[in-house]
Symmetry: C2
Subunit: 260 residues, 2 copies
């Protein structure tokens, strides 16, 4: 319990330092309370316009926190930080295929790489909890359940695919409040994209999520679906561009930005 | 007066057709009431990532309405439209120098050109007027006064420069309401960037605007400054990229989108 409190009260810089020296290799959920955590995608400059356009056209699943210049690795939103070392884990892809999972990407760095930092739902989750809406996956210490849908994204160049959503069970009586609270965070996915009928967005079996952990839904609850920051990575994989790097699931960049 | 009403009640498609067949060569202000009008910048693909990044980093002066794929000229926001012909006038630049002002850009079109449509203040101006805040430049049939400032934009690649602002005199008692009303339009510049002291943002002489017409300010009024969609064009010129095209001042693309 002391340990949990320690995580929560750490500064973003402390979390990034732990990642950099190899002491933190697990998920960043629960660290540095109140700070924005970011998904990361790194693509070569040759593909950066199309990927930026994809994000601009699909702001709900791809809310941009920051885009760095080609070759730059020091983000404005994390003072003294380095995107090559300051996340707990990275995934390296070639032609859409995962080739390695690593703790830092120094050996893969190139001057033409463009880093995209993309908002993640950890920010609105704490607002939901504070608003009296418990989140089962958080209470159970699990990852949120995520699903591929039939909701098309607006394509850009070769980046093309359907939206990935995260699902949280919400008591029927709390659904309206969950919409209102998350709607206040347009920078991190905003209001839900669907409520109640998974089949209508192409999800056939809630007990088999495509990413994350299965989370049970009780009789007095509805499944509520939010646009998910896994979408840009999923679409980048589908595109089979020769090379890209993402953060490992749940292992985010902890930024200096506050969620409020 | 009938003519003015005709302009207001035209459909966006009718306005675009008038442009295409050469019947409308003047400003689009006052046409197709309630429709979003867009500033336009066209840059080669080689510079498109940096320019998109510049817009993404400076959303107040550069609120993106739509970005087209390289070589595409049919925008989603204007059905059946063509950005090469459907504006009343265009400016063609080489190395940051204006080389020609033309009525269509068919002869300049290339497969690598990327079109950016950027929000313009015509949208919130009608909301201000409806909110009981008269606009002197509109009443006088003049262009809004625009000034270069010392407010730096966040640069991206070679796109680098200060913000251009538009100025509207507002009665002191109406300033708060003007902020509230324009703040409801984050897609078109949003709330003012400065109120009251032009010297503090590097404007030395309000009677000599850098673009548009001089507009007098009365004793019971304050000058109110909004981020201006001329900024991206000004910055593109400063960058001296080999080739770019913009709309001619005041001669916008009238889209199908409604301002509400």
């Amino acid at each position: 319990m002391t340990k949990e409190r320690d995580k929560l009260s750490m500064s973003p810089e402390e979390v990034r330092t732990l990642c950099r020296n190899g002491s933190l290799t697990g998920p960043t959920s629960g660290f540095a309370k109140g700070r924005v955590q970011a998904n990361m995608m790194i693509v070569p400059r040759e593909h950066a316009f199309d990927f930026l356009l994809f994000c601009q056209r699909n702001p709900k699943p791809c809310p941009l926190v920051e885009v760095l210049e080609p070759g730059q690795f020091a983000p404005r939103c994390a003072e003294g930080g380095d995107v090559r070392t300051d996340l707990p884990g990275y995934r390296v892809f070639e032609n859409g295929r995962l080739i390695r999972e690593v703790g830092d990407i120094g050996e893969y760095w190139r001057d033409d790489l463009v880093t995209f930092l993309i908002g993640c739902s950890f920010s609105f989750e704490s607002a939901l909890i504070e608003g009296g809406i418990p989140l089962r996956h958080v209470d159970a210490g699990k990852n949120v359940a995520m699903y591929k849908t039939n909701i098309p994204c607006w394509s850009a160049g070769q980046f093309n695919g359907n939206m990935v959503v995260s699902m949280r069970p919400v008591k029927s009586g709390h659904v309206a409040r969950a919409v209102e609270i998350s709607g206040r965070f347009p920078q991190v996915h905003g209001a839900p994209v669907h409520i109640g009928h998974p089949g209508l967005i192409g999800i056939t079996d809630l007990s088999s999520p495509d990413f994350g952990d299965a989370i049970p839904i009780f009789d007095d609850e509805l499944p509520v679906f939010w646009a998910c920051g896994v979408t840009p990575q999923y679409v980048a994989e589908l595109s089979r561009i020769p090379f890209c790097i993402s953060h490992s699931p749940g292992k985010m960049l902890v930024t200096d930005l506050t969620t409020s």
